[in-house]
Subunit: 201 residues, 2 copies
Amino acid sequence: MRLLIVDDDMLVCQSLKVLLSREKDMTVVATAYNGLEAIECCHRETPDVVLMDIQMPEMDGIQAAREIKRSWPEVRIMMLTTFQDEKNIRLAILAGAEGYLIKSTEVSGMAQQIRSLYSGVSVLDPDVLNKLLQQPNTDKFIDLTPREMDIARLVAEGLSNKEIAQQLYISEGTVRNTLSVILDKLEMRDRTQLAIQYWKR
Amino acid sequence: MRLLIVDDDMLVCQSLKVLLSREKDMTVVATAYNGLEAIECCHRETPDVVLMDIQMPEMDGIQAAREIKRSWPEVRIMMLTTFQDEKNIRLAILAGAEGYLIKSTEVSGMAQQIRSLYSGVSVLDPDVLNKLLQQPNTDKFIDLTPREMDIARLVAEGLSNKEIAQQLYISEGTVRNTLSVILDKLEMRDRTQLAIQYWKR
DNA sequence: GCCTTGTAGTTACAAATGTCATTATTTTTA
DNA sequence: TAAAAATAATGACATTTGTAACTACAAGGC
């Protein structure tokens, strides 16, 4: 199995290379330090599996995954990151990545998961999968105060900030501030994602 | 039954006054030409039912309905308009209006519907109700071209314009333009309303 | 009493969003 | 074949949206 390792941290790159090379069935054919280099490496080596960090300079892992999948659809891509970031996971999978691992995973397990990925299944860290499936038992809407819930409900009805302000007899600025707090609590980016989650619960 | 008629068109105001005054159980206690005047009239006369246009100068019917309902919750409000405008209907009902009539309704039916409203039920023009319940047979998403549907789907997934552009390998400007067309076709205002409708279908 | 939380506000700023006009290419359809 | 529709793009523009920093006040809990 031919591996390409992509990470802007040279130490991580080298450590992974050494550790994974110990596996009999794995060969690290190249390492790259950003997305652009990764694509170049694919041209030269055409790996079976790409292990790639998400946050990198020049071109990030998501963009690189997209490009690689477009040119070499048969290459399997495993995203690698230090924390559980739901937004990036969604984007990475939409970009074509089949797996997603937290860097803290022990290397023995990592090798096994790379094999699974290569054999065709998708590999996701269980915590990551839970986040993706947004299980209802961790319904974050419960954390909202009554007033915040009022505003969340009206956002989910499709009202603008101005309309919400009129509806609740408060200023538009307050609506904006409170919505900002709501989005932070729910770990969402904008009102649209809030509305989607509200109705999908 | 004490009526207040509110419309910026004096002709409409007077016609309604004359026609409705013929009904034995109805008295038009005042007429007003905008939302502010309507509120003043409520102070002086405290009507049972307010018949009110939506589009008016100074203060529109929706804002006025909100204010009136706040001060006199027992007053029943019937919005009156010349066409079927789904956005305004939703807003008017959220603002506290209980009824909504198209002006083209014959006066005989109108009187009957005002009586119904006064007795406690909500009165909506059937066409209006259909629009409100967004029945699936008039699923406007069908009107979208394949490419427009691609973009609508990604909007409903919660992606930003930039992310959609990357996903589809087109420019962000094109996404913006196309979304603009989509919103126009679906008669919606923004991406949030689109996402809501997409999942509520 | 003091501290925290919830609510509400303002201002300023940056980023994203939506609209319009206008052009161009390709595909479909009449 | 000619016209119409779909796709894609750019630049300018106004508006909306979201963030940050900071103030203020009332209600409860310790």
